[in-house]
Symmetry: C2
Subunit: 470 residues, 2 copies
Amino acid sequence: MPIEGGNFRADQVSLLAGTIHQRCTDPRLGEWLEVLADSSLADDPHSDPGATISRLHRDYKRACRLTTELVEAMSRATVIGQQRWEVARHDQNFSHFKPALAEIFRLKREIASRLAEPDQSRYDALLDEYEPNAKASEIRQVFNDLRPHLVQLSQQILDARHPPNERILQRKAAKESQRKLSELAAQRIGFDFQRGRLDQTTHPFCTTLGPSDCRILTRYQEKWLPAGLFGTLHEAGHGLYEQGLRQDWYGLPPGSYASLGIHESQSRLWENLVGRSYPFWQHFWPETRSILGKTVQDLSLYEFWRSINTSRPSLIRVEADEVTYNLHIIIRFDLEQALLENELSVDDLPDAWADRYESDLQIRPPSVREGVLQDVHWSAGLIGYFPTYTLGNLIASQLLTAARDQVGDLDAQWRVGEFSPLLDWLRAQIHRHGQCYSADELIHKATGKPLSSAPLVQHLRTKYAEVYRL
Amino acid sequence: MPIEGGNFRADQVSLLAGTIHQRCTDPRLGEWLEVLADSSLADDPHSDPGATISRLHRDYKRACRLTTELVEAMSRATVIGQQRWEVARHDQNFSHFKPALAEIFRLKREIASRLAEPDQSRYDALLDEYEPNAKASEIRQVFNDLRPHLVQLSQQILDARHPPNERILQRKAAKESQRKLSELAAQRIGFDFQRGRLDQTTHPFCTTLGPSDCRILTRYQEKWLPAGLFGTLHEAGHGLYEQGLRQDWYGLPPGSYASLGIHESQSRLWENLVGRSYPFWQHFWPETRSILGKTVQDLSLYEFWRSINTSRPSLIRVEADEVTYNLHIIIRFDLEQALLENELSVDDLPDAWADRYESDLQIRPPSVREGVLQDVHWSAGLIGYFPTYTLGNLIASQLLTAARDQVGDLDAQWRVGEFSPLLDWLRAQIHRHGQCYSADELIHKATGKPLSSAPLVQHLRTKYAEVYRL
């Protein structure tokens, strides 16, 4: 956006946010929902009507706890926040962003205080927006279980004597070849191009414009193959979930994603657990060689597979590997709770960030650009969003472990390019339920167990023992 | 859009169109406008409040002549029309588009019949949407004056013994260099990058997202320099108009463009009358040589200038030159009137199109893709839109002729890179009036004369005598 365009955008966005809030808190809506909630339609909370009533009623009550003025102020603060964040990033100067960030946390504190139920912390109340019914205390427990394993494994990897050859991934590959390869990969795992598109962008994402119009966007880097290919598999994983939601309930709870954690589990499952697996590459290697030509001609499948599973502590979350990624998330999860609870001031944030990177990842950001200013989330008011990324990784592993029990020999299927048995299982277990079950319920129904760090730890230990010959 | 996404998009767009129509025809709005129209605020129709009342009242009365059902049906027909048009273009098969186009013209006939005032033809009633108060009969008169001159000049050009070297323009020029050059050109003529941006796209356009957020989009072709550079100057011309509208009246008649013809006059003026003039290139040549390097190093300014003014009858409107462009428009203007009045059936359209190209431009389209299916307009329900392009060319020449009288020696100014005197004059004569005067009134006020073909004919004859050494 041009620099002078910001104020009008803030006016527009806050007007829209206020208008939407007024509509969503219309007392008539509340009366109707009360009647419905007391009717037999709501008897089974997991039925389509029951889930619809319960979810809309919950959203209505949450909205009513906020004033339109507060919603407008929050919305304005985030438009300004994103503009200031961009300037601060460009200038590598945190102080340009600091007042806007302080205002965002001030407003979020007020919002959280108003939203919190008696059994919720303020952070829980914000988390609820992205991960309904989740509790920070429970997430912290799982993260605490996970963390020492990641730190230990990461250290073992650093000490490994026979690491894979990372430089393979920096070989030049024409963007057009990468595009072909990525499109083929998305198609192969089941993304429906009659009901979706794959295009290019600066920051990869997946968005749904209608029940049969799912857009995935990726970016290709000429000298960094994983960006385009695994970026596409990640977004296609989100897209498969969107395409698997029931079209006849589009826009209503039974046709909407259950939580951000569940959404991320689908993208991570296809990106990492399928897309970085050896059986997938046993299938996909001949086509890759034919499309990428010289870039990979001298490589064995095994060498290539090891290279795409390289792990190394790094500064930038979105470029992190499977092992270290979750350490980036845990840092953010801890810091945003401290900020919200006034245990950490915005003034001290850049140092706190750098200190945590040094202690957790043994690497200190040389600038705020590669440190605290790398993510857009806080500037956009997304507090309580970060943990859903690691929840996604945990859920993905737990789901895949269950699928291995229930679907048969997945490795053997992938080896011959059969991905539909797994997709069908995910459709039946997750996609078609929409919001008729909560994330916790879906996990329990599909895997028979509550969320646990064990499957992810097991997956990482097994794979990285092989990749790094530990 | 993915193929399966079409129906939902049609649902959405027609719902929105219907909702907007219902809001715009709210009887309370009519009552308020009646009161205002009878008040002293409306006494001076050229004052800000007077123009606001009169324009909003006119729009209100027009909207009330249509039913919401008709608006929704039209809107749905155009979404489907654009989808069918794409398929037909891809398959080079007009029959895939024919039923949708017939439906569009059927609905447009009904809309035009309802909208037409007693002194308006049905075509006038549609034209009114894009060129308020214009009459097809008057436009036809000016076009009839213009046409023989274009045909004659085009023939002289074809017969010229010393044409410029067209192949210069096909020389390879890196897109990044073209981008730099185009950005510099837009900046030089006065486009404000604090209040706007220049980006890349497939089909160039200009759009305004707020009073200080004007976006111009262009595309660069590695082996066709004019596409990017003159595309940018064209869109920047639109952008200068948008940036010259009064911000405090943004979204209301005094802060809105007067008509599409006036809008196009601004883009054509900067693209063709300034951007393809010799004085402009006397100024811009050294920078161009430095940015494009080898591509133009062996050329003289004069050779280069002649090449960018090449003229040749062609099939594709958007690629046509200054001389032949208006012949493309006159064909469309005639055909769409015949279609609307049922003097030509949709069945016979492809042949009628090809016949007119053969008689007017001595070139027959080898396929419908390069013939009747080349433009998106009719598929989008834009009937009565095409003539505004040639009106733009006519108005541009007439304005520039007047500016030469009133501003001083423009050529001398351009030669030293001074474009602000002309821009200031356009701001004062056109931009800051918004819709306080009609297009006709603006032309009369600025030039002292009604619209005429003479200035454009004079401009083309003088320039092309030099370029082709006629």
